[in-house]
Symmetry: C2
Subunit: 548 residues, 2 copies
């Protein structure tokens, strides 16, 4: 066991729960081949940062290590050029995923044999026809638990919802047709609504620092991708669940505008929930992989399969003038911890030095109000469905589940109450829209989270991502390249002046020694339906940040 | 008084209601100038069809009669070419609107002086600048009661919601900027949810046949436009409220896909209602006027004003093959009356003779189920808000109000109930989408209503329009050119085999002698977001119908 995991609370329930949970964990554990098992001498003495273990453990060849260093776009291009086979690719990532799982517990299902069989078919097609089946030919893609994949387990974040999917959902069906290769599914938390990933399958750790969480709810994905056990994964985000885990592990990801990417068939605790949209998007290791993903999925016209999909013309950068980037450090809800403030100040200086960017101070507009609205909308029934699903599985509620449905934030509604809540949301969206226009930014750069990855079981500060779910604006998260550094980020308690109770709690959670080396990531957002412009702007911003 | 109106029930309430209602009606009546009043000898002896009275009553000059014969596109073009002034145009339509109102009670507000003042400004601009202010320069546009126009009365269909609008809503603001001239607002029913238009302001009659209703809820518009007292009006449609009144009076109109045209600020009984969208669109006297309206409003980018607006790329006709037109006569909910069946059979033969059209039998897919879903969604609170608003105004509920909120169709919900209802809707939409694709039609031609305009207080058969609100598909209504003819449409009761209770009721309401001369209209629908293709297809279909 690693030094931290054994000390942490694990998922519990009644006898029936325990029995079923053990069976699920046993099935998962036994799916990792003997040949890929790490020795207990290694597992019992893990460093804080385990990302170098795949290279040092001896299970991967130099070729496999080089291959798994590639991003998805490079993999796709090399396969299409005949320089790599699909079998080589999925084998390398599959082996690395098995190693990753033993270190950070990121998977819920492992089926490399199926992936290799599919890869063989694709290689034969390529050899026979001299062309690829589609723009994702041979790209291994990892899939979050609640996203159905035919013949594999899926759940809506509760034991009582675990099932084997009879069919692909629209997203996995499209990805399969475009040439993707599936080989793993990844962990998510109870309720699929924690900024952690702790479920009946176990607790996922952050490979960059085992003291911390990889985030959630797409934290199995982020941990796996940060370990380079997958080049590209599918996450979902109703409050920050793509952006937070990407930020925590230093990878790239995007939450698109709601209903512009297919989510039909995704398991959820309630169909017909309309307060907010759970958006789905890519998690990966380069910005260009985000572009590749959207370009590929859009080419399959998901809006022709599902009438709830919205048309979304692909927007571009403003022409004939500088990109106007708003910068916001503090959202009036919770003050970021010192390393995150340092990262934003560093980024601001870099942007100010770029001659194609105009930096604007972005003032947060009523973020506490918007955050309260989205919290109330997450559980419009006051958490009744969550309690029912926990009870049906004999499953104990975790502390972060108690937090998302705590009565100070959510309540049950009658019809008039639902209308009033949605009416408040719509009026807030209009006011937010108007003030955004008044501030004149194309995009806004801000923290994805008020700090680096949290220590386990403490992630309660969703406001930096959730505000954009309240207004349904797309957001992309990417690494600054900076990490938590005790020499730079130590802050004595006497220097710190908390503004609110949330600030006090966030500061109490800050431990620069334990968080050392954690990635400091950035979030860039744009207005609803400006997804194309946002992605183009991210390239402009990242280029400025990388300039010496 | 005309022969029919005095026999019909009028809006009633308690003493406070009666006093306020009388004041509103008095204000309206006194707004019609003495110089435009029709003599009581005429009003006491009206023919069934009053559409020729503007020409015969002597109040309009030959030039004004010719001008009000033009459609909105012709008016716009002549003004832009300097061949008509805005003052001439609004004066002619304003005078004709005053005459129309005395015959069919279509207005709730009359303010020609304001229209003339605005027209003068536009004429001066045109003279000074040598160009128009926008693509609607000088076009008079009539506005339905619940659509706010700065400084004028508006209501959500209840006395208790009557107010003077402090500002334009997005739609009227946009139209004003594009050059439109406002001069009247038009009647709608109690609740804005009857296929009639009977309110605190009075009951609107169908100018093509005073025995019948002009339909609703945009019936003030349809009566006014059929009288040529307005070339173009703004209606709203959450169940058929543009399409039904257009059909009843033989004019053109379109309900676009929801949230593709601005409705922000429109008065409604509940903000935040999300089961269905009340869509807004044009009502007019030619298909090209519908094109002109959408082209003009889209050019103003309403989506930049309101974050709830959806982008909707303008689609076009399928290329390289015939247009596939499904034809459906009976929706499995209620059998059309004989004249409507005759109109569809006539249209089908015409389409079959066209070499650019392929006719397909369109089979209705579970329309009873979809109709039940949309009825339940109209009043997700079981009608509580309606009862509260009626009570607040001391207003008696009308029979058609009782019908829309009758307990067999609607009920109050808790949160889970709302989610379940919306989940049923979403699943129905998916099934409907899939079967539409399987049937392979581009558009479907069907009745807009199971007959011509109803006799008063009987319009309970919404299914032919409401099904498309359930799935949010756009629909355009236009006249076939045929009318009810006792010689062709007489049907003895012994020939008629009712399938359902609804059929029996619809047949009992059928009175060919009383309905003589009523227009027989057609409805053409397409899938969600195919609004551009639908309009192009309507031109193809109408051309085929007009061919000898």
């Amino acid at each position: 066991m690693d030094p931290t995991l054994s000390d942490l609370p694990q998922a519990t329930g009644n006898a029936s729960y325990t029995e079923k949970a053990q069976a699920l964990r046993q099935r998962l554990a036994s799916s990792i081949p003997e040949s890929l098992r790490l020795p207990s001498t290694l597992l019992d003495n893990l460093p804080l940062d385990v990302t170098s273990i795949p290279a040092s453990c001896g299970l991967l060849t130099p070729e496999e290590l080089a291959l798994t260093d590639l991003d998805a776009t490079a993999i796709r291009d090399k396969i299409a050029a005949g320089k790599l086979t699909c079998v080589e690719v999925v084998t390398a990532f599959g082996k690395r995923a098995a190693i990753a799982h033993q270190l950070v517990h990121c998977l819920v299902d492992y089926f490399l044999d199926e992936g290799i069989a599919r890869a063989k078919e694709l290689d034969e097609y390529f050899k026979r026809e001299g062309k690829v089946v589609g723009p994702l030919h041979g790209v291994p893609i990892s899939i979050k638990d609640h996203v159905p994949l035919k013949g594999h387990y899926a759940s809506a974040g509760f034991l009582s919802t675990v099932e084997v999917s009879a069919e692909d959902c629209d997203m996995t069906s499209i990805l399969r047709e475009l040439g993707a290769v599936f080989y793993v599914k990844t962990n998510q938390p109870q309720t699929v609504m924690h900024l952690e990933s702790h479920s009946v399958y176990g607790r996922t750790l952050n490979p960059r620092n085992l003291n911390t969480t990889p985030g959630g709810s797409s934290g199995g994905e982020s941990a796996l991708i940060a370990m380079q056990g997958s080049p590209l994964g599918i996450g979902t985000d109703g409050g920050g669940s793509i952006r937070n885990p990407c930020a925590n592990t230093g990878i790239y990801g995007m939450r698109p505008t709601g209903r512009t990417m297919p989510t039909k068939g995704y398991l959820a605790f309630a169909d017909g929930h309309m307060g907010f949209y759970v958006a789905t998007g890519p998690m990966c290791r380069s910005a260009r992989d985000i572009d590749m993903f959207f370009s590929a999925v859009r080419s399959a016209h998901p809006e022709l399969r599902d009438p709830s999909q919205l048309p979304s013309p692909w927007t571009t950068l403003p022409q004939g003038r500088k990109l106007r980037v708003g910068v916001m450090v503090y959202d009036d809800v919770v003050l970021p911890q010192p390393p995150m403030i340092r990262a934003l100040e560093w980024a601001r200086k870099k942007l100010e030095a770029a001659d194609n960017i105009e930096v604007v101070d972005y003032k947060p507009y009523c973020h506490p109000e918007g955050y309260a609205i989205i919290r109330e909308m997450w559980y419009e029934d006051g958490g009744n469905a969550v309690r029912r699903l926990l009870k049906e599985g004999g499953e104990d509620s975790m502390p972060l589940t108690d937090w998302v449905i705590e009565p100070s934030a959510v309540k049950d509604h009658d019809t008039q109450g639902i209308w009033d809540l949605h009416g408040r949301r719509d009026k807030f969206r209009q006011r937010y829209w108007d003030q955004w226009k008044a501030q004149g930014c194309d995009v806004v750069l801000l923290p994805p989270f008020p700090g680096s990855a949290n220590l386990h079981d403490r992630a309660r500060h969703w406001s930096y991502t959730a505000i954009w779910n309240a207004v349904d604006y797309p957001g992309v998260v990417f690494p600054s390249g900076l990490t938590v550094d005790p020499a730079l980020d130590a802050l004595r308690a006497s220097d710190y002046v908390p503004v609110t109770d949330a600030d006090k709690a966030n500061y109490a959670d800050y431990d620069v020694e334990k968080m050392v080396g954690s990635p400091l990531s950035l979030q860039l957002v744009a207005r609803r339906f400006e997804d194309g412009m946002l992605l183009a702007a991210q390239h402009v911003v990242e280029e400025a940040l990388k300039r010496e």
